[in-house]
């Protein structure tokens, strides 16, 4: 699965995107997946420290942290939007 990081997620993690293989069952929630990411290192744990500002899109559709990742091919993490 392609994993994208925007704004300060990218700064803290030090990556704009990476490829991560999920277990094939697809029954992981977004929250479970974040738990796996946090285990990867300090940049991740800093990025996901305050879960209230962690926004997520699966295949470009905003979802909440309890959503099952299922067969999504792309997951993106980003802070609240500030465009316009």
């Amino acid at each position: 699965m392609k994993v994208l990081y925007f704004a300060w997620f990218r700064d803290r993690i030090g990556l704009a995107e990476e490829e991560i293989n999920l277990d094939a069952s697809g029954d992981q929630t977004v929250r479970d997946f974040i738990g796996d990411l946090v285990a990867r290192g300090e940049g991740y744990s800093i990025a996901f420290e305050d879960m209230s500002v962690v926004h997520v899109a699966l295949d470009m559709q905003e979802v909440d942290h309890d959503t099952l990742i299922g067969s999504a091919s792309e997951i993106a993490f980003y802070p609240p939007f500030t465009g316009g």
């Binding site: 500030t82 465009g83 316009g84």
Partner: protein, 154 residues
């Protein structure tokens, strides 16, 4: 029509392109967001707009479609710039055209309110005190909430 681009846009030219030759449009509202040199008491030299390519265009298209569902619009344009911007630069353009002014005004406000809170763009400000990502404003959240009920006019 929805566009995300690094280049500047021409508000008058976009309005002309949108409604040229039409004789059913009675009112157009063009909103332009401009970059200010000061934001919340900080000097800003450069503002860099980041977006989620693909999702940004998708969401803007959905917002535009929603505005057309809620108001009797005849035409609309949404253009959002990305990349580095300087004070005075144009950031975003929303144009709405309708037979009567109330629909055009309301739809333009709606589009700006929802764009600010629902479209994947992020601003980073760079100034004498360094770089920082802009925080979302509760005022923008509140403005967006106004439109969860049905529109005032149809």
């Amino acid at each position: 029509m929805v566009r995300v681009q690094t280049e500047d846009f021409d508000p008058g030219g976009e309005l002309e392109a949108l409604i040229a030759g039409r004789t059913d449009v009675g009112a157009s509202v063009s909103f332009v967001g401009h970059m200010r040199a000061r934001n919340e008491d900080r000097d800003v030299e450069t503002m860099t707009l980041e977006h989620y390519p693909g999702m940004a265009e998708k969401v803007l298209g959905e917002l535009e479609a929603e505005a057309h569902r809620r108001w009797p619009l005849q035409a609309s344009t949404i253009i959002h710039r990305v990349g580095p911007l300087k004070p005075g630069d144009r950031i975003v353009l929303v144009i709405t055209a309708s037979a009567h002014r109330q629909a055009a005004f309301e739809a333009a406000e709606f589009l700006m309110d929802w764009l600010k809170t629902k479209a994947p763009f992020w601003k980073k400000e760079s100034g004498p005190t360094g770089d920082s990502w802009v925080s979302s404003r509760s005022a923008d959240e509140n403005a967006a909430q106004r439109w969860t009920a049905s529109p005032k006019s149809k």
